[in-house]
Assembly symmetry: C2
Homo-oligomer: 251 residues x 2
DNA sequence: CGTTGCGTTGACTTTTGTCAAGGGAGGTGG
DNA sequence: CCACCTCCCTTGACAAAAGTCAACGCAACG
């Protein structure tokens, strides 16, 4: 029987709150110095949420922000008509809890079981106002999130389901600890659809086309293996080129 | 001859750098205290750019950030294939100059003639690290931009050209100094299309449908007048309902 | 007075959404 | 241990929406 792929097999959980940003080359860089981590530790409480649990709902009073230690969460805006667009996924070392006028602006739900540091707002605000260096790190992290949101918006504007999906897969690969041709997808295809502004059916068809083009394989719904790196990256630019592969003998 | 609508008829330019955010109810709130404005003033230089001028290009060294005093600018990512998605528009009291690793992440161009305060990075960084209160205001502004970017992403995920266009118009109305049923659009329909992930033709057709539904009129391409506020807001939720208005007597 | 940029409209193509049906993996309870 | 159930993924047929290509009108500008 094949290995499972929907559990959270991570091992190392940082003993202190952490903050990282993605640099231009796709690597991840730590923001906090050991001193700053020690500053945050006393006001942080470690908590665990199970898969599918709602961390908070949009409109609720924003009493704390969270630092993800392990697991994956998603942020979404609730829509009455059943459409719940996903604004982003949160990975370890990300900050969760964007608020406006004391209320959370969207709903956050755990995609996998997750462990977080809870940082109560009043204590955190006091800390940030006292320590301008630490405050500046949070500003940098916010700018990082802003860039991520802009990249998301660019993706949504792109035509072509293959283009969006391929870029999404490339993004997910960046979030993995080690570069590899295997991409683990913690979320369902439905979640991917909500994130890319498409339907699950369109995601499924895009996967099928990418599989038939021999660009990747999907051993399991939550695992993708890239077969042809060059055409994988090319598909993220222009999409699939509709050549006539049927004319190639024995294809 | 009718009045012109593509010039910049604004009058009051703040004598000091300003920063505002949009609150939950759509109003705009000042972030900086007079003391903080005085702190910024000595490092700021006032500059003027003409309509169509490029403030900076993506990839260029990020030597400064800018505080818009008057006029409108747009931020876009350059794409080789002619598609230049617009990530956002900047209005007075907005901050321009998002960078990553010392390089601007997108290109900013003036939509109208504009006046800006130029804040050199080294001097600003020094100021922010010395004054944690001021730094915190910039963090709040960054969170505001983040919310705006998320709202943009939600719009792009929404189906229906009328829905997106109507929400965009509502957004533009918020940016105007006084609430009114007139909405001035500083940007071209092509810019709107790039912002909403649609083509100019689709924008044009959406305008036509909204006009035919008697929801609004467009006296000039850069001016919209809302005729039916209720249905205007409704169109931003569900889009146009394809009833058969011809069947309703004298409606 | 021509040129140019922008907006509009129409005909047609392509893509995606929608509806419906079916299948496989995992989990639960007998 | 097996039956059953549920959730999610897949596929097909069709409808709806948006993109593309092309032509035209209009106003501003030189």
């Amino acid at each position: 029987m094949p290995e499972r792929h929907d559990a959270t097999p991570r091992l190392a959980i940082a003993a202190r709150p952490c903050l990282t940003v993605t640099t231009a080359d796709g690597a991840r860089r730590d923001l906090l110095t050991p001193r700053e981590r020690e500053l945050l530790a006393p006001i942080a409480t470690l908590m665990r949420v199970e898969r599918g649990a709602v961390l908070y709902r949009q409109g609720a009073e924003a009493s704390a922000i969270y630092d993800v230690a392990d697991g994956v969460l998603k942020s979404m805006t609730l829509h009455p008509d059943g459409k719940n667009p996903i604004l982003g996924f949160f990975f370890p070392q990300d900050i969760v809890g964007l608020a406006e006028c004391g209320r959370y602006v969207n709903t956050v739900q755990a995609v996998t079981a997750a462990v977080l540091y809870r940082l109560p707002r009043p204590a955190l605000d006091r800390l940030l106002l006292r320590d301008s260096e630490l405050d500046h790190q949070f500003l940098i992290k916010a700018c990082d999130e802003l860039r991520a949101a802009q990249y998301h918006a660019v993706m949504l504007g792109l035509a072509g389901a293959e283009v969006r999906l391929t870029r999404f897969l490339a993004l997910m690969r960046q979030m993995q600890p080690a570069a590899s041709n295997q991409i683990e997808l913690p979320m369902s295809h439905g979640d991917i659809a909500d994130y890319l502004g498409l339907t699950p059916e369109t995601i499924s068809r895009a996967f099928t086309r990418l599989r038939r083009a021999r660009i990747l394989t999907c051993p399991y719904p939550h695992l993708v293996r890239v077969l042809d790196e060059d055409r994988f990256l090319a598909a993220g630019e222009d999409g699939l080129h509709h050549g006539h592969p049927a004319k190639v003998a024995a294809d």
